[in-house]
């Protein structure tokens, strides 16, 4: 059964042009999804609707079959989804441990060490970490929140190839081993290759295709 579903979602910033145009689709747990599309096609817009940062102009977003507006967007963000951004989005006056604890519902140090941070690094100020390490902290925060859905907007955009590969591997692992529904917006073919399902945005609509390679 779909954990996340969009039904006839239309979104417009200016009421003249629809960025998303009656888009529908279903997403399930345990899979890594890659959202592809040219710049300006509406990838970030779609992700923000899925993440409850905004509401569709028309149509609904359903979590486990229920309109996310029923419980409220705060609730949806807090319990159902975890967001990861290109720019890491960590709180700069907190350590990795504290950043991860923001919404954690479990011990966070094991998660951080599993993602490759040393104990010492986990207690440093986050700004004293490399980009890759910072993104690992953001992923750790997403995992620690216990949300069944992880939404990532170009998580590897600022990282070199090797690090990007590692981060993608972690996301894939999270989908397959932790049974999360992981949705990654990306421009990178390397990332797209790892995905189970490819979602392509074309003229405001969604084309869903399984990745043959996997």
């Amino acid at each position: 059964m779909a954990i996340l579903e969009i039904k006839n979602v239309t979104y417009s910033y200016d009421k003249k042009r629809n960025v998303l145009n009656g888009m529908s689709g279903e997403l399930v747990s345990g899979k890594l999804y890659a959202i592809l599309g040219p710049s300006g096609s509406g990838k970030t817009t779609l992700l923000s609707l899925l993440g409850g940062l905004d509401v569709p102009t028309k149509g609904t977003v359903l979590f486990n079959g229920e309109d996310i507006l029923n419980k409220g967007l705060d609730y949806h963000r807090r319990h159902n989804v975890a967001l990861i951004f290109q720019s890491y989005n960590l709180i700069d006056y907190m350590t990795p441990l504290e950043n991860t604890r923001l919404t954690a519902r479990q011990e966070v140090l094991p998660i951080l060490t599993r993602l490759g941070l040393s104990k010492e690094e986990a207690k440093r100020n986050v700004l004293q970490l490399s980009g890759g390490q910072q993104q690992r902290v953001a992923i750790a925060r997403a995992l620690a929140s216990d949300a069944p859905i992880i939404l990532a907007d170009e998580p590897t955009g600022n990282l070199d190839e090797d690090t990007a590969t590692e981060i993608t591997a972690i996301l894939k692992e999270s989908a397959h081993q932790l049974n999360k529904c992981v949705i990654v917006v990306t421009h990178s073919n390397e990332v797209a290759k790892q995905a189970d399902v490819i979602l392509r945005i074309k003229r405001g609509n969604l084309q869903i295709s399984n990745n043959e390679r996997n």
Partner: protein, 467 residues
């Protein structure tokens, strides 16, 4: 993680900002405290001033040329006596006493009377033989309203006071009574001008708080121990001429010097008084001057407080708004992980409050220091002005004294009194509480205003502003 924990982390990690905020809040609280404590001190000083200065004015026979009822008669070979045919009647005194706010009405008529049979306490100023058995008699309306008794200079220690309906009554000093083997109920005798015998019953004995020291220059008849209070009827009987028909003067003491002008107006309305023959001497200048400088201080303090509060709100809001703009990113992150706007606002408010508690508590010391300095400054100013004023006041205290040396005793009492309003600036729990209240109000307003622009945004808008 609770918003309290996040606030604590922010305050402890962003040390520079915290320190700046701490200094701003400390200065703000110090000024607010100074204002509050100065305000209270000046209120207290006004209160004290009123109580200590009291307020009184004199209604007396007008001895100037304007008085058509003035009569000058020659007396003996060289002396003359001047009197007005219009004098203060007991009815007038009664009407004055009925004016609300009038505390005492000390109406009296002083003259000398000879008590040939009595041995007196000798003064140290030589006097003519003819006055050697003279004592000062004070014809009163009611002796309990006499300034000598109300001020505590004299105390009635036996018998009763003289009242307005008494005739042939007297109150003498206990010393004089003992010297002459007299007691309450005994009769003393004097003679009127035409040698008619006037018999007076002693109804009470008084004791003075202090008697003149050996070094004081005083005549026999002026010695307080020889003083005799008599009722008006007796005073008239002793004089037995049109020179004494009523009281020469009445000192009217009011409850609150603030209401003195109103009471004087009320006295002027009394139809029984023929104003051609009377004059009012009011000297409220000591109170007015001191009160107006205190009133100015009060206004200054209020203005100062309002400015401080306004400036604090502006400065705090500006700084916090600037910082809030720099915290859009953080706000977006917090919202994106599902933290509510109220929790974010709560965090921002708590951060400032944590620093405020520290700053406000420490402002107790800085406030005390500054308030003390300001207080001393005002006290210095106050002392200068009131020193001049109390000199005037003493001079005006007993303008009706007809007999030489009268001032010695009466004014000795008023000069001792400290009429300087003291500005006692201290910071107590009340001011601290008020300051905390005001401070928290200022902070809440400022944080609120600073947060509005960010809080109005949707999470997506905040996140898109971030990148």
């Amino acid at each position: 993680m609770s918003f309290l924990k996040r606030a604590w982390l922010y305050v402890t990690r962003k040390k520079g900002k915290s320190l700046l905020l701490f200094i701003i809040l400390l200065v703000m609280a110090t000024f607010v405290l100074t204002g509050l404590s100065l305000g209270k001190a000046s209120d207290n000083a006004q209160q004290e001033l009123r109580q200590s200065l009291g307020g009184e004015f004199l209604l007396s026979v007008d001895y100037s040329q304007n008085n058509p009822y003035l009569i000058t008669e020659s007396m003996g070979e060289t002396g003359t006596v001047m009197y007005s045919t219009k004098q203060i009647t007991p009815e007038i005194v009664q009407s004055i006493k009925e004016i609300p706010g009038v505390k005492y009405c000390d109406a009296n008529t002083e003259s000398l009377a000879v008590f040939a049979d009595m041995s007196l306490f000798a003064g140290n100023i030589p006097i003519d033989e003819e006055y050697s058995h003279s004592v000062k008699t004070r014809g009163v309306w009611r002796s309990d309203e006499s300034g000598l008794f109300t001020s505590g200079s004299l105390t009635l220690t036996a018998g009763r006071h003289i009242t307005e309906n008494d005739t042939n009554t007297a109150i003498i000093s206990r010393d004089l009574a003992e010297k002459n083997n007299l007691k309450v109920g005994d009769i003393i005798t004097t003679h009127s001008n035409d040698e008619t015998e006037v018999k007076i019953e002693i109804v009470g004995l008084f004791e003075p708080k202090a008697i003149e020291s050996f070094t004081d220059q005083v005549t026999t008849y002026d010695k307080i121990q020889n003083h005799i209070f008599i009722d008006l009827a007796t005073a008239i009987a002793i004089e037995n001429s049109s020179a004494v028909q009523g009281f020469f003067e009445a000192t009217i003491v009011v409850d609150d010097p603030q209401s003195m002008d109103a009471i004087i107006s009320a006295v002027k309305e009394i139809s029984l008084i023929d104003w051609d023959g009377f004059a009012i001497t009011a000297d409220n200048t000591a109170y007015d001057a001191a009160a107006s400088s205190l009133k100015q201080l009060s206004q200054l303090v209020s203005t100062f407080l309002i400015i401080i509060i306004a400036v604090s709100i502006v400065i705090l809001s500006l700084i916090l708004t600037m910082w809030a703009r720099g915290r859009i990113h953080e706000t977006g992150v917090l919202l994106s992980v599902g933290i509510r706007k109220t929790s974010v606002f709560g965090q921002y408010l708590t951060e400032v409050l944590i620093i405020a508690v520290l700053a406000f508590s420490l402002s107790f010391f800085s406030g005390n220091m500054i308030a003390g300095q300001v207080g001393n400054y005002f006290l210095g100013q106050q002392n200068n002005t009131s020193a001049e004023q109390s000199a005037d006041e003493v001079a005006a205290a007993d303008p009706g004294g007809a007999v030489a040396g009268d001032d010695n005793f009466l004014s000795g009492d008023t000069t001792d009194e400290n009429t300087t309003p003291e500005l006692n600036v201290v910071i107590s729990g009340t001011e601290m509480l008020q300051m905390f209240g005001l401070g928290i109000l200022i902070i809440t307003l400022s944080v609120g205003m600073a947060s509005v622009p960010v809080m109005r945004l949707k999470p997506r808008e905040i996140l898109s502003k971030m990148s």
